[in-house]
Amino acid sequence: MTATTEINNIISEENLVYKKTDVLLDNEMHYCPGCTHGVIHKVIAEVIEEMDIQDKTIGVSPVGCSVLAYNYIDIDWQQAAHGRAPALATATSRLMPDKYVFTYQGDGDLASIGCGEIIHACNRGENIVVVFVNNAIYGMTGGQMAPTTLENQVTATSPYGRDCTSTGYPMKMSEMVSLLPGTRFVTRQSAETAGAVRKLKKAIRKGFENTREKKGLSFIEIVGTCSSGWKLSPTQSNEWMKENMFPYYPLGTLKDE
C-alpha cells in the first residue's frame, strides 16, 4: 500500500474528528500571517454553528483590521463607523430582542475612539456580546500607538517607545468595564495555544448563552498578536506577548454573575 492510498483510506466519514464549520466562509483572509483574528473568527463561527443560531445572529464589525470580518463569517452583518459598533448593537438588540447581537472590535476602535460607546453600552447592560481584540497597536493604519500600547513599546507614533507621562497609560478595559453593574461576564482570554483556543471558545459560547438567557452584556477581551505591527515573526510575537502583554493584561475571568 502506498502512502497516498493509506491517507485516502484514512480520510473517510467515520474517521472524521475535525471539520471546518460551514459558518466560516472560504473567502481568502486578508489578515497577516500570525494574526490572531483568523482563529477568533473561526471560534465565533464554530459557536454559532454549535448553538444553531446562524439565522438569529447579527455581527457588527468595526473600523480597523477586522472591518472586513463580514467577508468571513456567514451571517448578517452591520459595518459600523469607527468605535460606534456598541451603539449599532444597542439598537439592533433592543429592536430585535430575540436575536444574538455581537460587536467585534479592536483596541483602537473600542478603547480609543469608541470609548464612550462601549462604556455606556456596558453601563446600560445591553444584551449583547462584545468581542474585544487587544493587540496593543493600530494594525490597519500601519502600526500606530493604541490606548493599550504598553509602556516603552515602540510603534509608528511612539518611535522612541511609549512615554506614559505624556501619552497616558495602557488602558485595562476589562478591569474598567467589570466595575459597571451592567456587565455580567467579563473575561480576558488568548488564542496562542490549542488549550487557550479551547478556553476562548468556552468563553464565547458563554457570552452567547448569556444573550439567550437575556443576562446582559458579556465582554470578552482577547489578548492577541500583531506580527506586522510589532515587526516580529509569528513565533516571536507569541513569545513577546507572553513576556510583555500577559503580565500587564492578566488572563482570566474578572466577573461572572
Binding site: D55, Q78, Q79, A80, T90, A91, M96, K99
Partner: protein
C-alpha cells in the same frame, strides 16, 4: 375631522412618530427640541405600540443607534438641534452610504458654534449640500406649521423607504416651540416581521434566512471602480428625487410681479408681508419650497416670465439664496434678506427689504 388638538410643534413630532408606526427613537437632549424625547418618555410608547425610546449617551451614539436600527429594516429616527446635528454628521453620511432609510429632525437654532438657543435657518447648507463627507444628499422637508410637523414625520419615513435614503425634517425653534391647532394622523400599526421581510428583506440585517443570501449593511468598498459605479447609482437616485418628489406651495402668485422665496417660519412671516405689501399696491407672491432637496428649481424658473425680481427671505446670512440664483441664472434680480443669530424678522422689515433691494433697483 380626526383627533384635533392644540399642541407644540416638538410634541407633535413625538406624537406623529408613535402614530405612524415608528419602531425606535434614539436621542440626546438639546434646546430647543428636548420636548420631543420628553414627550415620548411621558407617552411610554413601548407599552402602547412597542416602540423603543432610548436616551443615548451622545448625539454620535444616537445617530449610530439609528444606523443599527435602520439596518434591521425598522422605522427609526432621531432628533436634535444644530450643534447636535453637526455631531450626527458622521452617522448621516454612513446612512446615506449604506442606503438606509431613517428620519432625522433638526430644530434649528442660531450658530455658529454653541450659538444661541433662539430660532434660525442657518443650517440650510448643512442639510441640503452635505454636512458629512462624500457625495450624498438627504431628502429635506421644511415644515411651516405644526400641522406639517405632524404630516412630515410619516412623509419623511415614506420617502426614505421609497429611496432607501435618510430624510431630514429641517424645522426651527419657531415651529418647534409654537402651539397651533393640529389634526393628528390616525394610528398605523408598526410593521410585523413578515411585512419587514416583504418590504426590506433584500437588504435588512435581521438574521440570515436559510437558503437565501445574507445581508450586509456597509458603506465600504475598497475597489475604486466599484465605488464609482455605486456613486453613479446614488446620483441616479438623487436625479429621480428631483424628477418625482419636488414639493412646494405657491401663495398669491397668480398676479405677482415680485416674488418671495422662503421656507419654514420665514414663509409664515412672508405671508403677512404679502398682505402688507399688497396694501401698498406691491403685487408680491410667495413660492415656498417644501422640499429643500429636491429643490423646486423648475417652479422658480416658471415664474421668471412673470416676476421682475425675487427676494429670498431666510433667517440666515444668505444660504438658500444661492439656490434661487442658480435657478434664475441672472434673468431677474435676486436678493437676500435675513436676520440671524436667533433674531426673527418682522413682516414690516421684509416689506422694507423688498422695497429697498428689489423695487428700488
Amino acid at each position: 375631522m380626526g383627533d384635533v388638538r392644540l399642541m407644540k410643534g416638538n410634541e407633535v413630532i413625538a406624537e406623529a412618530a408613535i402614530r405612524c408606526g415608528c419602531d425606535g427613537y434614539f436621542g440626546y437632549p438639546i434646546t430647543p427640541q428636548s420636548e420631543i424625547m420628553e414627550t415620548l418618555m411621558i407617552r411610554k410608547p413601548a407599552e402602547e405600540t412597542g416602540m423603543v425610546v432610548l436616551q443615548a449617551e451622545s448625539e454620535v451614539a444616537a445617530i449610530n443607534m439609528v444606523y443599527g436600527g435602520a439596518s434591521c429594516g425598522k422605522k427609526v429616527m432621531t432628533s436634535s438641534s444644530s450643534p447636535g446635528i453637526s455631531l450626527k454628521a458622521e452617522g448621516i453620511t454612513y446612512l446615506a452610504g449604506a442606503e438606509l432609510p431613517a428620519l432625522i429632525v433638526n430644530i434649528v437654532r442660531g450658530g455658529p458654534g454653541l450659538g444661541t438657543i433662539q430660532p434660525a435657518q442657518s443650517d440650510y447648507f448643512q442639510a441640503v449640500k452635505g454636512g458629512g463627507h462624500g457625495d450624498y444628499k438627504l431628502i429635506v422637508l421644511a415644515p411651516a406649521s405644526v400641522q406639517e410637523m405632524n404630516d412630515f414625520v410619516d412623509l419623511g419615513f415614506e420617502l426614505s423607504f421609497k429611496y432607501l435614503n435618510p430624510a431630514m425634517i429641517l424645522s426651527d425653534g419657531v415651529i418647534g416651540q409654537m402651539m397651533e391647532k393640529v389634526e393628528l394622523s390616525d394610528y398605523k400599526p408598526r410593521w410585523t416581521d413578515e411585512e419587514i421581510e416583504k418590504i426590506s428583506g433584500s437588504w435588512a440585517t435581521n438574521g440570515k434566512k436559510a437558503g437565501s443570501e445574507r445581508n450586509i449593511s456597509t458603506s465600504l468598498d475598497l475597489d475604486s471602480a466599484k465605488q464609482e459605479v455605486f456613486n453613479h447609482k446614488l446620483q441616479a437616485k438623487y436625479r429621480a428625487m428631483e424628477e418625482n418628489d419636488v414639493r412646494f406651495e405657491k401663495i398669491a402668485c397668480d398676479d405677482a410681479e415680485y416674488l418671495f422665496v422662503a421656507y419654514g417660519s420665514s414663509a409664515r412671516i412672508c405671508q403677512k408681508s404679502i398682505e402688507l405689501a399688497r396694501e401698498k399696491g406691491i403685487k408680491v407672491g410667495l413660492l415656498r419650497p417644501i422640499t429643500l432637496f429636491p429643490y423646486p428649481t423648475k417652479q422658480i424658473q416658471e415664474m421668471l416670465g412673470q416676476v421682475k425680481g425675487i427676494l429670498s427671505v431666510e433667517m440666515s446670512a444668505g444660504q438658500m439664496v444661492e439656490d434661487v440664483r442658480l435657478a434664475v441664472e441672472g434673468k431677474v434680480p435676486v436678493e437676500h434678506f435675513g436676520r440671524y443669530g436667533g433674531i426673527i424678522p418682522t413682516p414690516e422689515e421684509v416689506v422694507e427689504a423688498l422695497e429697498e433691494k428689489i423695487l428700488g433697483k
